[in-house]
Symmetry: C2
Subunit: 293 residues, 2 copies
């Protein structure tokens, strides 16, 4: 029987796991960035490197990846050209490229119905009911991703300009941001002009920290951001979702900000996205072929 490979390819690093035909994970490893959209060739290289390293970690011959069956979760899985480019060059016997969200959902919920809210630099919601998987939100920073780290950071910088102009009252958080930009609003404007979502997103964790200390601006920004998350969770509940998992880097920070009406539905994730990728590989390529794609 062939080994199974799960890949969790992200913009910062690529993680891989190898499992036996029964789905039990034998080894894990990590390599560099696997951003299929911005750099498909480097992504491909790091996917292969992580897979080989996982085999080595498991005490297996890394040449074995060529006979293994893989499921990969990546950002931008539905953007045609770069995905085809990578798909054609993967060295595995069989491979399917899925969204990073789907492997995260599989890891978090196992085979149960429910939904995940992925709260990181961006935000996206994925609901599964039986075989049906539905995506909500996730339209990106420019016009979507409400409540995301990028949007929180953007709102903070905007608020800092209002404080500088004397339109809003100052707070320790706004003062610290102003000081970082040498109290020069033009520096903030210039930063924002060039900033990518990840650059804005780096200002989100401090907002949560300051809110804990009662900072009025941080509290106002997070109350507004949490409403956008609650609104989206309302939609998932209306679709029949009983179990909700918060995932992503901001999930633990957001937990206390989520409305009471949703708290009883929040569940801890069963496992991580990499485990989810292996589980999907098992379902599709494992001993039990009944649910193979």
């Amino acid at each position: 029987m062939a080994f199974l490979i799960g890949i969790d390819g992200g913009g910062t690093s690529c993680r891989a796991a190898v499992a036996g035909p029964d789905g039990r994970i034998l080894g894990r490893a990590k390599s560099g960035a696997a951003n299929i959209l911005s750099d498909p060739d480097t992504a491909l290289q790091n996917i292969i490197e992580a897979a080989r390293a996982a085999f080595v970690e498991a005490g297996l011959d890394p040449a074995g990846i060529c006979e293994a069956c893989a499921v990969l979760g990546v950002a931008g899985h539905n953007v045609g050209d770069p995905v085809h480019h990578v798909q054609r060059r993967l060295p595995f016997a069989k491979a399917q490229i899925e969204s990073d969200g789907l492997i995260a959902l599989q890891g978090a919920l196992g085979d149960k119905d429910g939904a995940v809210a992925i709260l990181g630099t961006g935000t996206i919601y994925i609901a599964r009911q039986g075989q049906s998987v539905r995506y909500t939100g996730g339209w990106g920073f420019t016009i979507g991703d409400l409540g995301s780290g990028a949007r929180i950071g953007h709102a903070l910088l905007q608020e800092t300009l209002l404080v500088h102009d004397g339109i809003h009252a100052p707070s320790p958080l706004a003062s610290s941001v102003l000081a970082e930009f040498h109290n020069d609003p033009r520096e903030i404007v210039e930063f924002a002009r060039l900033a990518k979502p990840g650059d804005f997103g780096r200002y989100a964790p401090p907002v949560f920290q300051h809110a804990e200390q009662g900072d009025v601006i941080a509290t106002r920004l997070l109350a507004a951001a949490a409403v956008t998350i609650d609104d989206a969770l309302d939609r998932l509940v209306a679709q029949g979702m009983q179990k909700l998992c918060l995932l992503g880097g901001l999930a633990p920070l957001y937990r206390p900000w989520i409305a009471k009406r949703h708290q009883s539905r929040l569940a801890e994730p069963e496992a991580d996205a990499l485990t989810g990728a292996v589980a999907l590989a098992l379902a599709r390529y494992g001993d039990d072929r009944s649910s193979a794609a």
Copy 2:
């Protein structure tokens, strides 16, 4: 005595007026775009063309512009290089380049103290007390210009995605925008990715129109936008401004949305920006040299 020239240089057109030594306007004319930042040479050409045409309109020899004294109001007047480029090449005997906002304020308030809120594709506030002129806001679309046409249009497209996702309830306005994009959220995302502030701003007037008909989304968006204007006006009032003028393309639309506490301070502008430029030219270069710069 030399003639006086006022120039109102905008991104769409350039207007010029010529006045006698007493400041009485003798002729007006208009030419093409005068965007000093994006195309200083074309701007220069259109400034000269408008000035010459104003002389012709007044029955004067257009060669006379070389002996005239001018005040020009332009966007981006404080951005070094392109302004120096234009300043050095102006054919007038004397000339000063000011902000488009300052000539608008001069036109609206005459020589009185007070403030103007310029509500168009962007938003900026200018307050004058005696010789002191203070700018508030106007940091641009990315991180400022709250309440502007661009921000209202952006908020509408964002809201339309939330309606598409079933997170917010629909409204006639959101449905009409969705229909314009063939009910395909990806078309909205792609539009937003490439849109400049003016592209977003074109969606602002329909928001005001739909709000008048009771559209819930339009009403919510404008209520939120008006709060940002009211907050800025609060700041101007706290600075001692008793007289406020709303200027710019959205001014008449915004008027009923401004908070009651400000309504008694709102005044109609005395004259337009071009008249303001001529008035500044008179003050600086006219017969009465007492307030010349």
